[in-house]
């Protein structure tokens, strides 16, 4: 029976040599073309999920991430007029950390002025963003290890908190307020202890009436500073001092 040997209607007749070549060409060329056309992708190690701000193991006060600048010390106290020096001072040194070679410390000394009323001197250990603000919203918590050594007697009314500054956030009321931040208090001890502060628990100070447009989340999206702060409630003649140790500051997923 030879009934099936008619060529394809409308198609040029197949000749043995040509079709053979075509078949070979297709069978060999197509996979090669396919290999050439494959997407050249590779997996890249994304690194740890947590974002390390600084573990201080490099022995300097420059954070591991370039998003934040050198750690620094700052004070705030009303000028008493009788003390030409700052009424509060701090220092940064490298000391053995929590299960690591280095940690960051701040020595501080706070005292009240000559005025009879209460004063609220503050010392803080801070890092600021040198360029753009940083978006913390992709993270769940700010974690760090902390240890505090206080003088005897301790500074009166001493309290500790962590502040996330966000000066570029839009305020609901366009008044003259220059500084916005979110605050969360901590209770350090004289032993190294890990702290994990949920970012969702950071709130604006209760005494601030000008709120952010968008709430705390708006501030977390444009963080421009991290501050570890100690403050006290001093009357005239009172003073206090101490050392704050900080290690392994991270943002946790």
């Amino acid at each position: 029976m030879v009934a099936a040997h008619a060529p394809i209607p409308g198609a040029p007749p197949l000749t043995g040599t040509r079709t053979d070549s075509v078949a070979r060409g297709i069978s060999f060329l197509l996979p090669l073309l396919t290999l050439a056309a494959c997407f050249d992708v590779k997996q890249v190690d994304p690194g740890p999920a947590d974002f390390l701000i600084d573990d201080f193991e490099d022995g300097d006060t420059v954070p591991k991430t370039s998003l934040f600048g050198r750690w620094g010390c700052s004070t705030f106290n009303p000028d008493t007029g009788q003390d030409p020096q700052q009424t509060a001072s701090c220092d940064v040194e490298r000391q053995p950390g929590d299960q690591s070679a280095f940690a960051l410390l701040m020595r501080f000394k706070l005292h009240g002025g000559p005025e009879p009323g209460p004063l609220y001197p503050v010392a803080s250990l801070a890092t600021l963003t040198p360029n753009a603000a940083v978006d913390f919203t992709g993270y769940r918590a700010l974690t760090f290890n902390i240890r505090v050594e206080l003088s005897d007697p301790p500074p009166p009314g001493a309290s500790f908190d962590v502040q996330l500054g966000c000066n570029s956030v839009a305020a609901e009321e366009q008044d003259a307020q220059e500084y916005f931040d979110l605050v969360q208090g901590i209770s350090p001890t004289d032993k190294w202890a890990p702290k994990s502060l949920l970012l969702a628990n950071f709130t604006q100070r209760a005494d601030e009436t000008n709120h952010f447009a968008g709430g705390p989340q708006a501030c977390l999206a444009v963080v421009d500073s991290i501050r570890f702060e100690i403050s006290g409630s001093f009357t005239s003649g009172q003073s206090g001092s101490g050392v704050i140790h900080i290690d392994d500051v991270r943002l946790e997923k």
Binding site: M1, V2, A3, A4, H5, A6, I8, P9, G10, L14, G16, T19, D20, V22, A23, R24, I26, S27, L30, P31, L33, T34, L35, A37, C38, F39, V41, K42, Q43, V44, D45, P46, G47, P48, A49, F51, T65, S66, L67, V134, D135, F136, G138, L251, K253
Partner: protein, 390 residues
């Protein structure tokens, strides 16, 4: 069949030259030829011989036919007959050779006459007869693409042994052509040498007709010689009344092994083409994702300390995973497409080669029945000698 007929040419080659032809030119009574016409005919004839020597039998046939038209000489009919044989036209060959004997009469040498008579008998023994009827009159019958006439056909059709495609169409469009004719039915009929068959075709219902049939006309005989011409094969003739049509059922054409193989081949090639298209479409539709991955990868490499580096890298790795999956899909589809295409085409080649072998085998079997002892290579090399009529 063509090969067989070419072999016949080779077989007859020892007595190809017609010694009686040259002196007879222009001497035959009744021929109104001029000296110029003879010269023209001679030129055509010489050209025909040259072309035949080059195995260009079609062109040679044209030249011989033109030579005969310009200056009819019975000897040219011998060459025309051989060209017909070489071209696989046994019916035309029988006609030409019969005319050769008829017109040459006693001028044909006895040895040549015997040879030609034997050749005619051999050719006719390869014929079979097919009687075609339809349940409705007016159907245009086509055999192997040649129109035979409209039913009722008043004569059986003489055909060379082998397979033939028979179509009947009320609209006159063969289904084996490019178009589809809903009014047509088609059959493939295989005839053995000397066999007679009756083929009754049932036409589609009138509602399915695209056009009204033309009134039945006389058959255009392809082969109108009476069956008695099939000499030497009487025992092979099957009486018509007792011959049930081998292919009585109309549509569809009964699948043969070759047809099934062709269907598989075309299906495989088609599936391969589709899969190849799918692979290409998948690849093209994912190119923008790949560009996204490249851009993100470059950005991450430039800023490994970004606050959201981990998140973005994880997302980019997920994209890479997806693209790797796409790679597998494209590769799998392409390999399958290549295999199917190559397999389909290979099947087509095998099908074609098998068909040729089948034809050759059948031809060889038929030729062997006559103990012809062909020399295929000699015939193929164009060593056929032609009658030098002028």
């Amino acid at each position: 069949m063509t090969i067989l007929l070419m072999l016949v040419v080779a077989w007859t080659s020892p007595t190809r030259a017609d010694p009686a032809a040259k002196p007879a030119l222009g001497a035959e009574p009744g021929l109104r030829t001029t000296g110029g016409a003879k010269e023209v005919a001679r030129l055509h004839y010489a050209r025909g011989l040259e072309l035949a020597g080059q195995s260009d039998y079609q062109a040679a046939l044209r030249e011989f036919t033109e030579a005969y038209r310009v200056s009819p000489h019975y000897a040219v009919l011998y060459n025309i007959g051989q060209a017909d044989i070489a071209l696989g036209r046994p019916q035309d060959a029988v006609e030409s050779l019969s005319r050769y004997l008829r017109e040459g009469q006693e001028q044909v040498p006895p040895a040549r006459r015997l040879e030609v008579q034997g050749l005619i008998a051999l050719l006719e023994s390869l014929f079979a007869e097919l009687t075609i009827t339809t349940d409705q009159p007016g159907a245009l019958i086509t055999i192997d693409g040649r129109e035979v006439g409209r039913t009722p056909l008043y004569q059986s059709v003489r055909l060379a042994a082998g397979s033939h495609k028979v179509t009947a169409s009320m609209a006159g469009v063969a289904i084996f052509g490019r178009g589809y004719d809903p009014t047509a039915v088609g059959r493939v009929v295989t005839l053995a040498p000397g066999e007679r068959q009756l083929l009754n075709l049932e036409m589609p219902a009138p509602t399915a007709r695209a056009t009204e049939p033309e009134p039945p006309g006389p058959a255009l005989g392809v082969a109108t010689a009476p069956s008695g011409n099939v000499s030497g094969s009487a025992t092979n003739i099957i009486p018509l009344p007792n011959t049930p049509a081998r292919d009585q059922q109309p549509e569809p054409i009964p699948p043969t092994r070759g047809r099934a193989r062709s269907i598989v081949a075309y299906s495989a090639a088609g599936a391969g083409a589709v899969l190849g298209g799918v692979a290409l479409a998948v690849y093209l539709s994912n190119r923008h994702r790949y560009e996204d991955w490249q851009n993100q990868n470059a950005a991450l490499q430039q800023d490994p300390g970004a606050i959201d580096y981990h998140t973005r890298q994880v997302a980019n790795n997920q994209l890479a995973d997806s693209l790797s999956g796409t790679n597998h899909l494209v590769l799998g589809c392409s390999l399958a497409a290549g295999a199917l295409l190559a397999g389909g085409i290979t099947l087509l080649i095998v099908d074609r080669v098998g068909a040729e072998k089948e034809d050759r085998a059948r031809s060889g079997a038929l030729a062997g029945g006559f103990s012809l002892g062909w020399d295929w290579s000699a015939s193929r090399s164009g060593s056929v000698l032609w009658s030098a009529a002028w």
